[in-house]
């Protein structure tokens, strides 16, 4: 268990964006309100070349958040020691302001599935996830943030609500939380619960970072809305409203705009970051 008295992350309470190599020059020349950058850890685990050179350069200008997408913390099997070592190496030389991963599984019998797959919220899952987080924080040597998933279905066997489950994980492991507000909205729509009720039950004091992203709209077999977390468009208005609801209760937080597919030109992404800045500025000083 790590010291939980420190701030959950070292990121500034400013807008950040998910870094895309096509924006390299523009981010340096015209960052606008962007005060920090997030990278996907796995894209910077090569041995050298342009990705690492760019990252070294950017890290001299901006606080960096390392966001893992491949550790499979909820996996039924053991964590991959090679992948843990790669994370330790990356966070070791980069010394990022924050390190985060997902409440999900993505590897099965050493086969990586390249997606964040859902978990039943049971005592057995809780024990396993906490053991894995302890191991991660132990090996990587820093506190991690755990992100809530976007859900498309539920497990009949679940006995915990997601906010209670996350709260218990932070209590047992000392980890912080990454609150993806779009994921809350997507899950709430898909599983028919109140997103504000979720936020009311969620331990906002543990939040070291907020994520916002766009989603797609579809329908299930019964014609009910099925939202899909695609990170391929602007954040929708109801998600911005939910962000305000969160910030009113949590105070200012680092807010990331995620845009991973159909990545737009820099001014479009920067405009989304500016909207996050507006949300922060409307808070009482």
């Amino acid at each position: 268990m790590l010291d939980a008295s420190r701030a959950p992350s070292g990121l500034p309470s400013l807008p950040g964006v998910g870094y895309k190599p096509q924006h390299f020059s523009e981010i340096l020349d015209a960052p606008g309100p962007v005060g920090w950058l997030e990278i996907h850890a796995e894209n910077y685990m090569g041995d050298g070349g342009r990705p690492l050179a760019q990252l070294r350069h950017l890290s001299e200008r901006f606080p960096i958040s390392v966001h893992g997408v491949g550790l499979s913390i909820g996996g039924a099997g053991a964590l991959d020691p090679d992948h843990l070592a790669r994370l330790k190496h990356l966070t070791g030389w980069l010394n990022p302001a924050s390190f985060s991963e997902h409440l999900a599984w993505s590897t099965h019998d050493s086969h990586f599935l390249n997606d964040l797959l859902p978990l039943p919220y049971t005592d057995a899952t809780l024990t396993r996830v906490c053991d894995h987080i302890d191991q991660v924080q132990d090996v990587v040597g820093r506190r991690m943030l755990l992100e809530n998933p976007s859900s498309y279905l539920a497990f009949a066997e679940s006995t915990w609500s997601e906010p209670d489950f996350l709260r218990e994980i932070t209590r047992r492991t000392g980890c912080g939380l990454l609150l993806d507000v779009n994921n809350v909205f997507v899950s709430a729509t898909n599983l028919d619960f109140s997103p504000q009720g979720y936020i009311d039950a969620y331990p906002l004091e543990k939040v070291g970072e907020i994520h916002l992203g766009g989603h797609d709209e579809d329908h299930d077999d019964h014609g009910r809305p099925l939202l899909i977390d695609s990170h391929g468009r602007e954040v929708v208005d109801p998600v911005w409203s939910l962000l305000d609801y969160v910030l009113d209760r949590s105070g200012p937080k680092p807010i990331l705009i995620e845009w991973d597919t159909d990545v737009p030109d820099w001014p479009v992404l920067r405009a989304e970051a500016a909207r996050a800045q507006t949300a922060l500025e409307r808070l009482p000083a």
Binding site: A53, N114, D115
Partner: protein
């Protein structure tokens, strides 16, 4: 009812398989299309990764055929690590084993070339050898050995793979002509550059990689290419920053690689 990750995983990769019991929507209905979101995410993201990794193969086959092949490939050879930048190592051999593609004999080697370019892009940085290091007594030079940059790759083929690659990546590139090509990939800074080698160049570099001296490797190349032009191949390596050290006979052998 417990849904194991074994059950979930089996149904993910096989759309014909029943969705595990114990999954539901908000009203305890079976999940139906909701489960397909995960099926799609896995298949689409890995198929997309294959298109990005092998754009020339995708162009040669057409997008639809590439989708079909990628679907087969990702089920037979799922990624073994979350490092998607290296996914597809088994693809060239997979292509070679597809009977329906046997009339396109060059495909596996073109895939090898695309894979090698990607590996070169992510390879460790290194400090290039100062060409002055070669200004030694010619006899000593012939007895010396060379070390290659981690980003250097050699792909040898009985097909004109460089011409095929270029024809499909560069506007106005000449039509490929029959004949084999040895391709050297160098990475002077951050962008890998594939270039066809002069005849004999592939034999020479391959012998050097196996540890032969410059002179012995020359003898090997000259066996099949009596007029082998060592200078031209050496110039390509030097210009591309593909050499990192020269070790004279009797010297301690110290390859120089830089950590990121």
């Amino acid at each position: 009812m417990t849904v194991t990750q074994d059950d979930f995983h089996a149904a993910l990769l096989d759309p014909g398989r029943a969705i595990p019991e114990g999954l539901c929507d908000a009203r305890t209905h079976p999940p139906g299309r909701r489960f397909n979101v995960y099926r799609n995410n896995v298949a689409v993201s890995l198929t997309e990764a294959m298109h990005q990794a092998f754009p020339v193969i995708a162009k040669l086959l057409g997008a639809q055929n590439m989708d079909g092949l990628a679907g087969l490939f990702l089920r037979r050879h799922p990624p073994s690590t979350p490092l998607m930048m290296f996914y597809g190592e088994a693809f060239p051999d997979f292509l070679a084993g597809m009977e329906q593609l046997s009339h396109l004999g060059y495909l596996p080697d073109v895939a090898r070339l695309e894979l090698a370019i990607r590996q070169s892009y992510h390879a460790a940085d290194s400090t290039p050898l100062d060409p002055k290091a070669l200004s030694i007594d010619p006899e000593a030079l012939m007895a010396a050995r060379l070390d290659f940059a981690p980003a250097m790759r050699l792909i040898r083929s009985p097909w004109p793979i460089h011409a095929i690659w270029r024809f499909n990546t560069e506007d106005g590139a000449p039509k490929p002509q029959p004949g084999g090509q040895d391709v050297l990939i160098t990475r002077p800074e951050y962008d890998p550059i594939p270039q066809p080698l002069p005849t004999g160049g592939g034999d020479w570099i391959e012998a050097l990689q196996a540890g032969a001296t410059i002179g012995a490797a020359y003898e090997t190349a000259a066996e099949t290419t009596p007029d082998f032009d060592l200078g031209a191949t050496l110039a390509l390596l030097l210009q591309g920053g593909a050499l990192t050290s020269l070790t004279e006979e009797g010297q301690e052998h110290e390859p120089t690689h830089l950590d990121p």
